[in-house]
């Protein structure tokens, strides 16, 4: 089964963990939970706004992890956050707290491999998979190293740009996924700009799954309920399942 990983900004609403349940029920294979940061430099307007809203509502790493721990989930949960929040607690304590809350994966978009040593070690010690990102501009040598050092899967950023909805999946993303799959047996997930079920279906031909972020978060910002979002995710699931690969 192709991976389907919805992204959700932690603390976006008081009942935010209900989205986790709905995503789980509607075909998510894992969920990426954003620990909101004040300065998300790889995020476009939608996720920036979501982070802002969650922070203004009082969300913090501690409150979000506590709520995650209280929500018994069966699929893997992956934290996504910026490196300052890791540095603030220290990689060691940060990873221990993730593990204690039942989170088994971690993505830090502003931490390239050259600087990732300390966090990679701490993550490994606590049984957290530090997943690394690859971009369309990454050179072949470096791509191989990212593929080798990434844990869990490889996060392929499809576009040169920030998170946000797009009309189609970028050619650069298709190319990157192809290159990565030649380099490694680890799952390659395509992220950024997967906005409609058709995109997911198209991506399924070149990668092992997709991350859907801004398209879901925009609906949540517009007031979409957990049930409604679960139904939207279900549409992505069906599209992925409809392609025979």
């Amino acid at each position: 089964m192709k991976g389907l990983v919805p992204y959700l900004t932690g603390g976006i609403r008081p009942d935010w963990t209900r989205y986790l349940r709905e995503y789980e029920r509607n075909g998510a294979t894992a969920i990426e939970i954003g620990l909101p940061f004040s300065d998300p430099i790889l995020d476009g307007p939608t996720i920036q706004e979501a982070s802002d809203r969650a922070l203004r509502a009082g969300a913090s790493v501690a409150t979000i992890l506590a709520e995650v721990a209280a929500t018994k989930m069966t699929i893997p949960l992956i934290a996504m956050t910026y490196y300052n929040l890791v540095v603030h607690r220290g990689p060691e304590l940060f990873c221990r707290e993730l593990a204690d809350a039942g989170i088994t994966g971690l993505i830090v978009p502003d931490l390239p491999i050259d600087e990732a040593g300390a966090l990679a070690a701490a993550a490994e010690k606590h049984g957290v998979d530090l997943t690394l990102l690859a971009a369309p501009t990454t050179q072949p040598d470096r791509l191989a190293e990212i593929a080798r050092r990434s844990r869990g899967f490889i996060y392929a950023i499809s576009v040169m740009g920030t998170t946000g909805e797009r009309d189609q999946i970028a050619e650069s993303g298709i190319r990157l996924a192809g290159e990565l799959r030649r380099l490694t047996d680890k799952p390659v997930l395509l992220a950024f700009g997967i906005s409609r079920p058709e995109h997911a279906a198209a991506a399924a031909g070149v990668c092992d799954g997709v991350v859907v972020g801004a398209a879901l978060m925009r609906r949540i910002l517009d007031g979409g309920t957990p049930e409604e979002l679960g139904a939207v995710l279900g549409g992505f699931r069906r599209a992925l399942d409809s392609v025979a690969v």
Binding site: I41, A62, N84, T137
Partner: protein, 438 residues
């Protein structure tokens, strides 16, 4: 600790491939930007070792930017304070601040690397104006990201940028100041790496920016070193003082004196004092001291000087602080406004609010006795205050400010009434011509 003088080759040196200054610096950017940073580093290393690049840059700095800038003794302020104050006059550089030095360097580099556009962030607008200027000069398109709040308070500079042909993009996220403009410029950069160079305005950001910008600003310190050798009987000033936002004018100034016994003082705004009140963090591609709340969220900085309204500080400053080579102090908004007025009245120089932080500290330190009598103090005047006039019109007039007319010298100062230049300052080698006119 503050007496520690490390060998010249270790202080303010080349930060190596990882761009480290002790535990600070580095390159904490999204993977998409890593190749661009690496190529820029390569391009800078190559240009910086090429005599023809230096020749081009020096020529522009001379015939266009107006370098070398003067080193002006602040005669009357010196007499009032009982010390010798020398002002390194970056306010006299084209576009009115030190920002032009860095921008001409980066713009030349960008052109050399085949870029057709410059992106920049700006707070006070000085860096934006400098970038717009260099873009016009070298035929490069310019887009400047600026927080909405700064657009309001720096209307004059916004108008200047537009006249120079730059596009000014308002940034509405977060605190709507320099921090958010920087984030937005980095987001934009990812989308146009092939044709655009991100012209960062201070000694911050991912490697190689902190190092490269310091090298482009080194001209301030190198000139000041030569000029103070000519001006002072002691050759080297006892103190070298500069304001610190990101820290580029301070880094450039300090670079000229890092291997001397001069005490280096960086002056931060009390509401944006990353060294004094921050803790280690990572923002905008580098590790340094950063203002943040108890949850690790970046705090908003507050300063009357928009150029100091940044929650972080360049990584090399964090390092200079850690090893005790430089000392970082703070000045409040309330001390800055009187310092502007005082320099205007004593020397006929209206400093930028940013620069006035350095002046305010010198005044405070001299008056409190922290600066021993007869000390020699070099202060970098990073820019002129024209851009701040609207803010100053609204700021409460300093208590005890001299009346607009009447005695030109505050009472109590050891200066003959009406004298343009009391030559009390013993450390100066030779009296300027003004003396004969007395």
């Amino acid at each position: 600790m503050s007496d520690l003088v490390l060998p010249a080759e270790r202080v303010m040196a080349e930060p190596g491939e990882l761009g480290r200054f002790g535990e600070h610096g580095g390159r904490f950017v999204p993977e998409s930007l890593v190749p661009a940073c690496a190529r820029l580093e390569e391009g800078f290393r190559e240009a910086w070792s090429d005599p023809s690049f230096h020749r081009d840059l020096e020529r522009l700095l001379t015939v266009y930017a107006g370098r070398p800038t003067a080193l002006t003794p602040a005669w009357r302020l010196s007499a009032e304070l009982g010390i010798t104050v020398l002002l390194k006059r970056e306010d006299l550089a084209h576009t009115g601040s030190h920002k032009i030095n860095n921008v001409l360097g980066q713009a030349l580099l960008a052109r050399r690397m085949g870029k057709t556009r410059l992106l920049a962030e700006t707070g006070a607008g000085q860096h934006g104006v400098a970038t717009a200027t260099a873009g016009a000069l070298l035929g490069l398109g310019v887009t400047v990201y600026m927080g909405e709040k700064d657009i309001e308070r720096q209307a004059l500079n916004v108008f200047r940028m537009k006249m120079l042909g730059a596009e000014v993009v308002p940034v509405t996220s977060g605190s709507r100041t320099l921090k958010d403009a920087t984030s937005e410029a980095m987001r934009a950069w990812v989308t146009c790496l092939d044709e655009a160079h991100y012209c960062l305005g201070s000694v911050m950001g991912p490697h190689p920016y902190p190092w490269m910008v310091r090298e482009f600003q080194r001209v301030i310190g190198d000139e000041a070193r030569r000029q103070s050798a000519a001006e002072l009987s002691t050759g080297i000033p006892d103190y070298v003082v500069a304001c610190v936002g990101g820290g580029s004018n301070a880094a450039g100034t300090f670079a000229g004196f890092a291997d001397t016994g001069a005490r280096l003082i960086g002056v931060e705004a009390a509401g944006g004092a990353a060294v004094a009140s921050g803790r280690t963090g990572v923002l905008h591609g580098f590790r340094s001291y950063l203002l943040q709340d108890e949850n690790g969220q970046v705090s908003e900085a507050h300063s009357i000087a928009p150029g100091l309204d940044y929650p972080g500080v360049g990584p090399e400053h964090a390092y200079l602080n850690d090893i005790g080579r430089a000392r970082y102090v703070t000045v409040s908004d309330e001390e800055v406004v009187p310092a502007v007025h005082r320099l205007a009245r004593t020397e006929g120089i209206l400093p930028a609010l940013e620069s006035a932080h350095a002046i305010a500290w010198v005044i405070r330190a001299a008056e409190s006795g922290e600066l021993p009598p007869f000390s020699t103090v070099l202060v970098t005047l990073s820019g002129r205050g024209d851009k701040d006039v609207a803010t100053l019109m609204e700021a409460p007039a300093p208590t005890g400010a001299p009346a607009p007319t009447g005695a030109p010298v505050p009472t109590g100062a050891p200066v003959p009434t009406g004298a343009p230049a009391p030559m009390e300052a013993p450390a100066l080698k030779e009296a300027p011509a003004l003396k004969e006119e007395q």
